[in-house]
């Protein structure tokens, strides 16, 4: 490890007005990392200063650890808070035990290339802790941070527009889902690799109100899911889950999706609706009890799934960053679909434009495969 830069970093820590009790540099030989710990003096809102701790549990003296990689100062140190730091905040990196604050939306190493150097990172950390102290980490200017999922169970693709429009007229929506289970993940519908996927059902609920309370995922069992659904205003989730559990008694799992309206758009999206996806392992519990139970019990295991947008023109428009409005339809007539025209058409389609009218007065000849955007799936070779 380069001691020179570590000493420099420690010097920045000792001279920063918000840091105190800066430890010596301790190098772990085997893992080629260096550790410095320090105390951050966090400004609490006035009413908490006397007790030194906020109602949520942020202290006026917070211990932090900086773990410097061997590549420092090309790469930034990793920052750890105490293990019992409240996890109920947004902008914490998904992790099972350690609390890693996500103090910058980009790569922390960027600060080391700017004139503030370590001070950029330290200022950012102090600001993060200050906002935690006033429970102000969620910035509406930036957007709504989706529910943190420290441990995903798998992926579930569906068309959010379709689901949203159906839920506006019906309180719930039931959908058959194909899935397969690998060692670690559940893959559904178009993601399935296997030829014979299993069948299960998904129940979609819409939350009747705007929910502006951030909460990381703490749902582990069905009873947690029931109480969370009531807290966000979905009253009949329990009844519906029990009903469809019985209806599809032979299926092993049941998917549950809550559509939750947030006060602002989700970070990086054009929608203020967050979809929370859960999977209930309903058969597991029955097996454990070794007898056939009439219904799924509240201690059934529940995990969270990640939603994927399905492949449609709207997604392409969003990703390509074109100025066209996502729901605006334009008919495109492509005159000339040869070597050049086919590629123009292909890129327009990949930018989310449809439908097309393709006009060409020629026919596709074998040698056109060399240049045309479309190619034949097989050709006569020499093998």
């Amino acid at each position: 490890m380069d001691k020179f830069w570590l000493y420099k970093a420690r010097e920045y820590l000792t001279k920063h007005n918000a840091f105190k009790n800066v430890s010596d540099i301790s190098i772990s030989n085997g893992r080629k990392t260096a550790l410095i710990s320090a105390i951050v003096s966090v400004n609490l809102p006035g009413k908490y200063i006397e007790t030194g701790i906020t109602d949520i549990g942020v202290k006026s003296d917070e211990k932090v650890k900086f773990i410097f990689p061997e590549s420092f100062p090309l790469d930034a140190p990793k920052i750890l808070l105490r293990n019992d730091f409240p996890r109920c905040f947004p902008h914490i990196n998904p992790s099972k035990e350690r609390v890693i604050p996500c103090i910058y939306e980009g790569d922390l190493s960027e600060f080391l290339q700017q004139s503030e150097w370590m001070n950029g990172i330290l200022n950012q950390l102090v600001d993060w802790l200050e906002k935690a102290a006033s429970n102000d980490l969620l910035s509406y200017d930036q957007g709504w941070e989706p529910m943190r999922n420290d441990n995903t169970a798998g992926f579930i693709p569906y068309d959010t527009d379709f689901v949203t429009s159906r839920l506006e007229t019906n309180p719930v929506l039931i959908k058959e889902i194909n899935y397969e289970q690998t060692d670690r993940l559940i893959l559904t519908d178009s993601l399935c690799i296997n030829q014979n996927p299993k069948k299960a059902h998904a129940i979609f609920f819409m939350c009747p109100k705007v929910v502006d309370q951030y909460m990381p995922n703490t749902i582990r069992e069905l009873k947690h899911l029931y109480s969370y659904s009531v807290a966000i205003g979905i009253q009949d989730a329990k009844r519906m889950i029990e009903q469809y559990d019985l209806e599809y008694i032979n299926e092993d799992i049941l998917f549950v999706v809550f559509s939750v309206k947030r006060p602002v758009n989700l970070i990086g999206t054009y929608s203020n609706i967050e979809f929370l996806n859960f999977v209930i392992y309903k058969s597991e519990h029955r097996k454990k009890k070794k007898r056939e139970l009439k219904r799924t019990l509240p201690d059934s295991r529940v995990r969270m799934m990640s939603h994927l947008s399905i492949c449609n023109p709207k997604l392409f428009k969003q990703l390509s960053g074109t100025q066209t409005k996502t729901n605006e339809k334009k008919y495109i007539a492509l005159l000339g679909c040869g070597s050049l025209g086919s590629k123009i058409g292909m890129h327009l389609a990949r930018n989310g434009n449809e439908p097309f009218l393709c006009i060409d007065n020629d026919i596709f000849m074998p040698h056109n495969n060399a240049r045309h955007a479309l190619t034949l799936t097989s050709y006569e070779g020499t093998t």
């Binding site: 009413k47 109602d55 950012q124 200050e130 006033s134 429970n135 102000d136």
Partner: protein, 388 residues
């Protein structure tokens, strides 16, 4: 969501007043400056208040720095220092975009009705006050001429009723004492801001003319309630109001204390002894605190702060600021909650005192460490980057 902020800037050797409030109301961002005190020298050879102020100001579509409202509490030089040098006066058509340092546009100018009153031997006015009054008259004349709210940059608000009836036809741009408001720059901010105009109060019984027309006596005193989530951050801007005014408030509002309640109190008249007592500190053997005035200044909420925008407070006979007055304030809220601008975070390197007005009340913002490489960097005014 992001909080609103209030910043108290350090002031020069002769005291001064300059407070910047930035309201964060979803899409509408509003900046309000209360008085200005921008000298040519940096404070304690360290804090360049001009840069600290400008770094915090928004810019309009023409790239001009602006404030939505400039509220002048009263016409003393220490509350108007640098006004004509740094703020644009006159029509925006005459704005000079080629100046080295652009002037700050004032979208709406607030003043007590005293701007009509000309300078005289018994009523001297500093140069900046005359320029301010002229600008105020220009703006009010536009309203009188067109009988409608002026365009941005020409707007004006008059506080208090003019004794000669000049405000009678100006109801749309006039707030009387005891009225509340939630508009800034003609935009309603009713979910974010509620202001209550406490002063300048009318002439009291037994009060002589000389006392009544005194500039400090005529100070605009306001309570600003800035909402965040479920919390009302109450800010009591005491201006340079003195003992009689505070004593009067206590007698007027002792049964409606929420009107003089605060999370942050701007200690009146740069922590002057005369805001708490009728007795002279230097002439009187045992100067007594006026209990009613002190009660009016003691309506602090839990975790409230008192800010003395003044020189360093020394234990001497100079007043303001007064050590004796500071002791009274510390007695009200505790020593950790009393801060003098020029002593924060220390006397040698004063920095603006900036609060986030959060959903748990005011929270001091940490001082950003500046770059040690670039000499001219004003990190303390930079907004933090978004969190990931």
């Amino acid at each position: 969501m992001a909080s609103s902020t209030i910043s108290f800037l350090p002031v020069g050797e002769k005291n001064g007043g300059m407070t910047l409030i930035k309201l964060n109301n979803d899409d509408i961002k509003t900046s309000i400056i209360i008085d200005c005190s921008i000298g040519d020298e940096s404070i304690a050879n360290h804090c360049d208040v001009n840069q600290e102020l400008r770094g915090r100001l928004p810019k309009d579509s023409n790239d001009r720095p602006y404030v939505d409202a400039f509220i002048l509490t009263h016409r003393h030089e220490d509350h108007l220092k640098g006004f004509s040098k740094h703020f644009h006066t006159g029509s925006l058509d005459e704005y000079d975009d080629d100046e080295n340092e652009l002037k700050i546009v004032i979208r709406e100018l607030w003043s007590s009705h005293n701007f009509w009153k000309p300078a005289s031997k018994n009523y001297p006015l500093c140069e900046n006050a005359k320029i301010f009054n002229k600008e105020m008259k220009r703006r009010v004349a536009l309203f009188e001429k067109n009988k409608k709210i002026q365009p941005e940059g020409d707007r004006a608000i008059i506080i208090g009723k003019d004794p000669d009836g000049k405000t009678d036809d100006l109801a749309a741009i006039n707030y009387d004492i005891g009225e509340s408001f939630s508009k800034i720059n003609n935009i309603s901010l009713s979910t974010k801001l509620k202001g209550f105009i406490l002063g300048p109060i009318e002439k009291q019984k037994d009060e002589d003319d000389e006392s009544f027309i005194d500039q400090n006596r005529q100070s605009i005193v306001v309570q600003l309630i800035i909402n965040q989530g479920n919390f009302d951050n109450k800010i009591l801007m005491g201006a340079d109001a003195e003992c009689l005014v505070w004593e009067t408030y206590w007698n007027k509002y002792k049964n409606a204390k929420s009107i003089i309640e605060y999370d942050i109190l701007y200690a009146p008249h740069h922590c002057s002894w005369h805001s708490l007592s009728y007795d002279s500190q230097s002439d009187c053997e045992d100067p007594q605190v006026c209990e009613d005035a002190k009660k009016a200044l003691s309506q602090n909420k839990k975790g409230a702060y008192i800010i003395s925008q003044s020189r360093i407070i020394k234990d001497d006979d100079k007043n303001p600021p007064s050590k004796k007055a500071k002791d009274e304030y510390v007695n009200i809220i505790g020593k950790n909650f009393f801060i003098c601008t020029n002593e924060y975070p220390n006397e040698k390197k004063p920095e603006p005192i900036e609060f986030n007005l959060t959903n748990s009340g005011p929270q001091i913002k940490a001082i950003k460490e500046k770059s040690r490489l670039a000499a001219a960097s004003y990190a303390s005014t930079m907004e933090p980057s978004p969190h990931g």
